[in-house]
């Protein structure tokens, strides 16, 4: 249907000015109350006791340690999940094998499991009541209530983040380019780095950014496995809880303001990456392409 540029578009459903203004107004007011206000109050409360208190909290050794631990968890968990995400996407989108749909569902499980349940589950693997706990204890290996436990729990919670961005995209891109490259004699690694990677780089980065935000902010799963030892196994979110329950609200909000800032940067990065086309192929497309048999 070719529409001349001069023709006025007919009004669509819900385009009456009054209704339109009313709906925009209601949505903006509710959004301001529910989403914007929490962000603003973090800043307000963080500086409620003045700049000096803010600076003292941020530079306090316990806070600095919590920041370091949070960064460390991200530095380990994010790259490992990135490698996993790439491997999973390559296996699932470039090959057909029995149980593929089931594997897709298993990869997505951490999204639906409560973080507390994840933490408890890790207790029954590496804790003293768990499968490997007694053996590990005998050899003096400490996983729970120590840094490895925090990292493992973060990995569980964020396991699907990179994979779910890559799988629908690589599914849609198909296998032709890679097949052409290998048939011309390129090795598997070369094919991946010079053919696949350039096509998925924005989606990959998108997944990494979201994965990082979640690792740095994870609370429930980490609070079960960390043991909450101040200055030792407290990540930033746990440190916030500790300060808050210690009646140091200003300190809690000061620490929270760091994480809120990371969240805002995450959203800015997300929007920038979406402009590059990342995150555009959404979940329904994933199912569509897996359902469609490769001819």
């Amino acid at each position: 249907m070719s529409t001349p540029a001069t023709r006025r578009e007919p009004p669509r459903v819900g385009d009456q000015p009054l209704f339109r203004r009313l709906l925009i107004g209601v949505v903006l007011v509710l959004g301001a109350f529910l989403i914007l206000a929490p962000l603003i109050i973090i800043g307000v409360e963080a500086f409620a006791k003045g700049w000096a208190v803010y600076r003292d909290t941020i530079t306090h050794p316990d806070t600095r340690h919590a920041i370091m631990l949070t960064v460390l968890a991200a530095l380990v968990a994010v790259p490992v999940n990135t490698v996993f995400g790439i491997a999973a996407a390559w296996a699932i989108t470039k090959f057909d094998f029995w149980g593929k749909r089931f594997l897709l569902v298993v990869i997505e499980i951490p999204f639906s499991v409560s973080p507390i349940v994840a933490g408890v589950a890790y207790l029954f693997v590496y804790g003293l009541q768990g499968i490997f706990g007694p053996v590990l204890d005998e050899y003096g290996v400490k996983i729970l209530f120590a840094i490895p436990g925090i990292i493992l729990a973060s990995m569980f919670v964020t396991a699907p983040f990179v994979a779910r961005e890559l799988i629908p995209l690589m599914q849609a891109q198909g296998r032709d380019l890679e097949e052409a490259a290998t048939s011309l004699g390129a090795s598997g690694w070369r094919t991946f780095f010079s053919v696949t990677l350039p096509n998925i780089k924005w989606a990959l980065l998108y997944g990494v950014v979201l994965c990082n935000a979640r690792v740095m902010g994870e609370f429930g799963a980490v609070s079960v496995v960390s043991g909450n030892i101040r200055g030792q196994t407290n990540t930033l979110p746990l440190h916030i809880e500790l300060l808050y329950h210690d009646y140091q609200a200003a300190g809690a909000f000061a620490s929270a303001s760091i994480l809120a800032l990371i969240a805002v940067f995450t959203i800015i990065a997300k929007v920038a990456l979406e402009r590059q086309g990342a995150g555009r192929i959404r979940r329904p497309a994933l199912a569509a392409n897996t359902a469609e048999k490769t001819s």
């Binding site: 594997l103 029954f124 693997v125 902010g217 979110p237 929007v271």
Partner: protein
């Protein structure tokens, strides 16, 4: 099926299965094993104790309330963001993801500060006789916050792809806007709405960090199931923690199956149209 010439299946599938096995399957299997080792009688006694039942009730009811609110607000937000252009709509669109990006503990203390009796909203609502913080209403608001993006982000792409010709046809037949919305647009959105609702509900059931600060955490009234598990752990009652956690895990599996079924149905629906 055609012959595959690409290399890397053993390596990539090996890494995937090893990682999924170690990080996802092993811990969940250990939890199920631990819960199963209790024996049916002990298991039933724990998961049906009055405190556990009260925690399910407050969790499920709050999650239902939050999901119903998000169904309407999420649909309105998705509608406004796809249909209307106004100054700053891009910022609003980006802000919808804030609940995903903001750590739950941060959201929890922020919402509590807003809704306590001397907070910005709490003081106004208090004058009206509504108490939010440390009541089930507070739990609901925390759940609304964390699950809102699910419904917006599942409905938005479907609204964007809606063919204007369908509306034009209905308009030319003389349908009122409300009739067209109800009889033409809503049925097309229903599969996405249902998928968003189940995602949102599942997330609300498992939420912990955002809720515990605002909930009050009184046993039998404002204690959510995730918190009860945590309390049992702190009491070193690992069996009870395992049993109640297994209830949440089974619910999560059920919701996952439901969501997958709804999404595949949604797909068949759009594929037909």
């Amino acid at each position: 099926m055609r012959r595959n010439v690409l290399p890397g299946l053993p390596l990539s599938l090996g890494v995937t299965l090893f990682y999924v096995g170690l990080i996802v399957v092993l811990p969940l299997a250990a939890l199920v094993f631990k819960a199963a080792s209790l024996g049916p009688e002990d298991y039933w006694r724990i998961v049906s104790s009055s405190r556990a039942l009260a925690s399910y009730r407050v969790t499920v009811l709050s999650a239902l309330g939050a999901t119903v609110f998000n169904l309407f607000f999420g649909l309105a937000l998705a509608w406004v963001l796809t249909r209307y252009r106004f100054p700053g709509w891009r910022i609003v669109d980006a802000m919808v993801d804030l609940p995903f990006a903001l750590p739950t503990a941060v959201a929890g203390i922020a919402l509590t500060a807003l809704f306590t009796t001397n907070g910005w909203f709490g003081s106004i609502l208090g004058d009206l006789g509504i108490k939010v913080a440390y009541t089930p209403l507070g739990i609901m608001i925390a759940m609304c916050f964390t699950s809102l993006p699910f419904i917006v982000r599942t409905v938005q792409p479907v609204l964007e792809d809606l063919d204007p010709a369908l509306e034009e046809a209905a308009q030319s037949l003389g349908g009122s806007d409300w009739a067209i919305f109800r009889k033409v647009i809503l049925p097309l959105l229903t599969p996405a709405l249902l998928a968003g609702v189940s995602l949102s509900f599942a997330r609300a059931l498992g939420e912990f960090g955002a809720i515990i600060f605002i909930a009050g955490n009184q046993p039998m009234s404002t204690e959510i199931t995730a918190l009860l598990i945590f309390i049992r752990l702190e009491e070193y009652d690992y069996q009870a923690a395992a049993a109640i956690a297994s209830v949440l895990l089974l619910t999560a599996f059920f919701m996952l199956a439901l969501t997958n079924w709804m999404q595949s149905r949604a797909l068949r629906y759009t594929a037909r149209g």
